[in-house]
Symmetry: C2
Subunit: 313 residues, 2 copies
């Protein structure tokens, strides 16, 4: 939610000269994402987002993310294309930071999706899954079951500071997903974080799928469970909105029908998705020097989702 | 440097319906200014900056700033025009905050102005001064001599924490400006903060004068002293760049020649300008709960400018 590394206009002009994309007309630092610096840049020919990857980013993973965005854009999905400079390089260095100039896409992120928007998001995710089938690179999901187990254990002594009983509730959830996590479902490239924040829309139309920095290779149906956790509930995380829930599945299955095994596993996949965001938010919440620049998000709405998915089982 | 008040896309869409300006295509929170929330907004017809005025803004002063920007834009200066809604109102409420939708202007803020850019900035300031002659509203300069005196007194016990001897140096400066501050020079509407940050340029051309939230009625030549302090020195504040200095004056005087009295007062006006920024930066520097969102600026380059202007006297 901030610009950590300022980039002087003079440096930007020099940087843009590496590309065939006109000269600089405007540059504004934008509050996008939580851990990188982003600039909305306009040249005489186009608009771009320039991302500078800050300390929290593992630089060795950037080629995966850049290749994935290129792959998806080339497949015709509304994914911003990383630009290659005159020498063919997408990955750059700006002000001493790894950086990438990325296509700007129009659209806004909705806060309270409608059913029609949930349907469109479901369809967009399914298209992403189909287009990922011939993406060659693989990345392990670093925020999957082993991370949930380890993080739940780390945070156990302090989870009740967030809400009484949370520690026990998380331990129970971990026990369930550890015992029942499916290992026989279709895998592929997943976004793993497709919250409304990361979907640009114009009306009911998806115009952008962004922020691929959690993308990885994992169960496709887990990605749908993340989407469900993110789109099918009111903001407080209480009971899901039935119309939204139906629309998400309809949208997804119109493009990629779920197998019986995937449907059957939905309750445990949902518990996994709820735990993943409950735990990352709890970790930020309890961090000793919580970065004032990062707005902490309440973990509890994901405890309520966890309860919901547990009741489905 | 941050967005303090998030505005959901749905609320933005409703807000834009008050204007005749098409529908929302894109909205990004931008890191502009230090105390307000700003969004770069694109509709089907135009681009705008939406500013939400946060706690540090005195709401009673907004009509002055809005009227001034309208006046300057109507006079043909590259000043962003505040938009009026279908009912003729420029001042709005968005998410409970006072707000204004303002024209977007192209251009970038340079970090290290060239001589040609300094000349253009001098000319732009002189045009602002001429155009202000028939602006009817008056606003007292809240950051002038009485504020310097009071703030220097408040901070005196702690200034040496910033640099040994700074307290004595400031006291000496205050003594000089208190004894010699001119009261017979032409007054008018001044920008009072025309640093390179607040000037948008394309090459050597000024395309935007922005951030009028310190504008007030005061000595015109004091505004030129602020411009000199901001544009004619290297970033460390050591000896001014003679070419830049000459270019600034040439640019200004090509539009509005200085009187002999204004020229004569330049050393004391410069000391005032240096004290104004030295003291506001020192205040931020020493603030007990220095807001982590505001990047603190080093006061010392303005102590060096103070020394420079004192040597001119």
């Amino acid at each position: 939610m901030a610009v950590y590394t300022p980039v002087p206009a003079e440096a930007l002009e020099q940087f843009l000269a590496r590309y065939e994309t006109g000269t600089l007309l405007s540059a504004k630092g934008i509050a996008e994402g939580v851990s990188n610096s982003n600039f909305l840049i306009e040249t005489t020919t186009e608009r771009f987002i320039l991302t500078l990857y800050e300390e929290r980013t593992d630089l060795s993973e950037l080629p995966y993310f850049i290749a994935l965005m290129e792959h998806m854009a080339s497949a015709g999905l509304p994914v911003p294309r990383p630009l290659r400079d005159k020498s063919g390089n997408a990955l750059q260095t700006v002000e001493g930071k790894a950086a990438c100039l990325i296509q700007f896409l129009p659209g806004v992120s909705v806060s309270q999706p409608t059913q029609a928007q949930a349907r469109a998001a479901g369809a967009a995710l399914a298209k992403l899954h189909l287009a990922g089938a011939d993406f060659a690179l693989v990345r392990r999901n670093g925020l999957s079951l082993p991370w949930w187990q380890a993080t739940a254990k780390d945070l156990a002594p302090r989870l009740d500071e967030i809400a009484p009983g949370l520690s026990g509730r998380v331990a129970e959830g971990i026990k369930t997903v550890s015992a029942h996590w499916p290992n026989n479902l279709p895998t592929g490239t997943i976004h793993a974080d497709l919250f409304p924040d990361n979907v640009l829309m114009l009306g009911d139309r998806v115009t952008g799928l962004i922020d691929f920095y959690f993308a990885c290779t994992d169960l496709l149906a887990y990605d749908l469970a993340v989407l469900h956790a993110a789109w099918a509930f009111p903001l407080d995380g209480n009971a899901p909105l039935p119309g939204h829930e139906a629309a998400l599945f309809e949208g997804y299955e119109a493009i990629r029908p779920l197998s019986r095994a995937e449907r059957h596993a939905f309750a445990v996949l949902g518990q996994g998705a709820a735990l993943r965001f409950l735990l990352s938010r709890a970790q930020d919440w309890l961090a000793p020097h919580s970065d004032a620049l990062v707005q902490r998000k309440d973990p509890l709405p994901f405890a309520r989702r966890l309860d919901h998915y547990a009741r489905l089982a």
